[in-house]
Amino acid sequence: MTSTDAAERRAPQDRAQVHAPELEPWEVFRQEKDGDPMRHGGSVMAPDAELAVHYARELFGRRQESVRLWVVRRADVLDLDDPDLLQPPLDRSFKKPGGYVMRDKLAAARAQSGQAKPKARQG
């Protein structure tokens, strides 16, 4: 069996994978200045990583408006938007600042101790 026989026995769609990449979307994240978080900028169509990076630079960095870019195939992005996981229904206020309102308790404690509310610290 020659190597051409083996190539022909590969399924048509496998051959297509190897020889005919498609244009697909790549998501681009950008960092505007040092220390900033990466933020989504948009997407570009490209057949492979090399051109995706080049086009990302063009569409999201040609004006020197970014100091860093991340480029990733949309198909590789794991998308989680399940409300049961991200916004489960039971109370979780103990995990947030808004869950600790102490105004009345502090007022009572100051009244009891005869102390005034401290002034805000300078600087």
Partner: protein, 257 residues
């Protein structure tokens, strides 16, 4: 070495050298900018336009340096000469052509320009050396793009490969004209401004691109048969380009735009 301490012979040599570099970038920038709005893919359109703008920016910087040397004005240097007085390489005289012609021309030019810039970045005249160091940094992006496309076309059988081979064949007689010997180059080498002669730089260039051509099974272009005339005799495509870029400017000479 400051401007004021340059000997007249060196000034003449520099004027010649910088003039050729500025004209090269100006002409290729114009040709490449023709793709703006009509490139094969929207994303590639934006990319090619950036490359063209870089080239024009480099031309503007080089004409600016030339203006300082000669007491002239960058726009006047860029626009206000007769076609026969331009000193760009004949490689760049070929019309924009199809995408393969553009890529082939850009590949031959960018690789040659990289070798030329390398020979100038450590030069003894600071203004030129500093500018060349900046240009080298910007040119990395150009080499990435054209290298990628050269490979894509060379390695895609059928029309892409055929068109690339056709373009290379058309460009072959003029391929090495970036390295046309300059009259004052010996003086520039002695002054430590230019690291090697144009002929030597052409040899270096061939050793750089040789492996790439071999890897893709392409014939490397031969040396130019009339090297002394590599920056003259521009022909009809450049006459057309010259007419275009002077259309508005010559319609109202002296006007401010």
């Amino acid at each position: 070495m400051t401007m004021t301490t340059l000997r007249p012979a060196i000034v003449a040599g520099l004027t010649d050298l910088i003039g050729t570099m500025a004209d090269d970038e100006f002409v290729i920038g114009f040709s490449d900018s023709e793709w703006t709005g009509i490139a094969p893919l929207l994303e590639e359109d934006v990319a090619m336009s950036s490359l063209a703008q870089d080239e024009l920016g480099h031309a503007a910087a080089l004409y600016g340096l030339l203006a300082d040397l000669t007491g002239s004005d960058a726009d006047a240097l860029a626009y206000d000469r007769e076609p026969g007085a331009y000193r760009h390489a004949r490689l760049l005289d070929h019309g924009r052509g199809d995408w393969a012609m553009t890529i082939a021309r850009r590949y031959l030019y960018e690789t040659a320009d990289a070798v030329r810039l390398e020979a100038l970045v450590d030069g003894s005249w600071a203004p030129l050396a500093e500018l060349c160091r900046k240009l080298v940094r910007e040119e990395r992006y150009h080499l990435m793009h054209v290298g990628s496309w050269f490979g894509r076309l060379a390695d895609t059988p059928g029309e892409p490969r055929d068109r690339l081979e056709t373009a290379l064949a058309v460009l072959a007689p003029d391929a090495g004209t970036v390295f046309t010997p300059l009259d004052g180059e010996t003086g520039l080498i002695d002054a430590g401004i230019l690291a090697a002669s144009m002929s030597e730089l052409e040899t270096r260039w061939r050793s750089v691109i040789g492996p790439t051509f071999a890897r893709h099974g392409l014939a490397i272009p031969p040396r130019t048969d009339r090297p002394a005339r590599g920056r003259t005799d521009h022909g009809a495509p450049f006459d057309w380009l010259w007419g275009e870029f002077n259309t508005v400017r010559r319609s109202d000479p002296g006007a401010i735009w």
